[in-house]
Symmetry: C2
Subunit: 101 residues, 2 copies
DNA sequence: ACTATCTATGTTGTTTTACAATATACTATT
DNA sequence: AATAGTATATTGTAAAACAACATAGATAGT
């Protein structure tokens, strides 16, 4: 069992969003905030950490108004990690449900 | 949303077990270990914390062989907290599922 | 008699993660 | 001129889980 799941579901949420297509940080903050409260700083910290672990590639895109957007693209390693995290999440839910029902 | 859920599902597992009936620490360790890995020290730390917050009453029971068992009994406050945590857990699963599917 | 194992409770120090607060910077609106 | 929105990022703090260790009585094996 992955110990990180007890406190690391956000990783999965971000990775699963990126599996749908490249996104920039602020965009991820907005999307995830629709479902749960998350501090903006938390997302950037998480993105930096996962980036350092080789799950992302990044690229900058200029915008006419406002600062440039930093897009995150999943690497093959990142995609594989996303799938394994998703599987572990499903398993984890079952384990918890067996204990609490 | 409860921020503790991202890292506090163990609380719910322990409380839900106690909602079924009084149990002692080692017994909880055994039961929860059937579903997920958990360090013995973690359980006792968690029990002490929840006890200090008024969710338990405790009592000792002598055993013919081995040290006495410390039983934990949910207080009304603890039972109410268990139910609210359970509700929040169900909600949380839905929120995550919307983000990852 | 000694050793290991099981039952049972508990503490200490470390790591991880999320949060709050703060900082920067450009644009558009009032 | 001030505020709000878009966008990225850092710092310090708190919570929770872990690993390792400590204690202790009973039992079983060698």
């Amino acid at each position: 069992m992955n110990a990180q799941f007890k406190k690391g579901v956000l990783d999965l949420c971000v990775l699963a969003q990126l599996a749908k297509g490249d996104k920039y940080g602020y965009e991820l903050t907005e999307t995830i905030s629709q479902e749960m409260t998350v501090a903006t700083g938390t997302l950037y910290l998480l993105l930096r950490r996962l980036n350092e672990e080789g799950y992302f590639e990044t690229y900058l895109v200029e915008t006419p108004g406002g600062p440039a957007r930093k897009y995150y693209r999943l690497t093959p390693k990142g995609l594989a990690y996303t799938q394994s995290l998703k599987d572990e999440w499903i398993t984890f839910i079952d384990q918890v449900n067996r204990l609490i029902r």
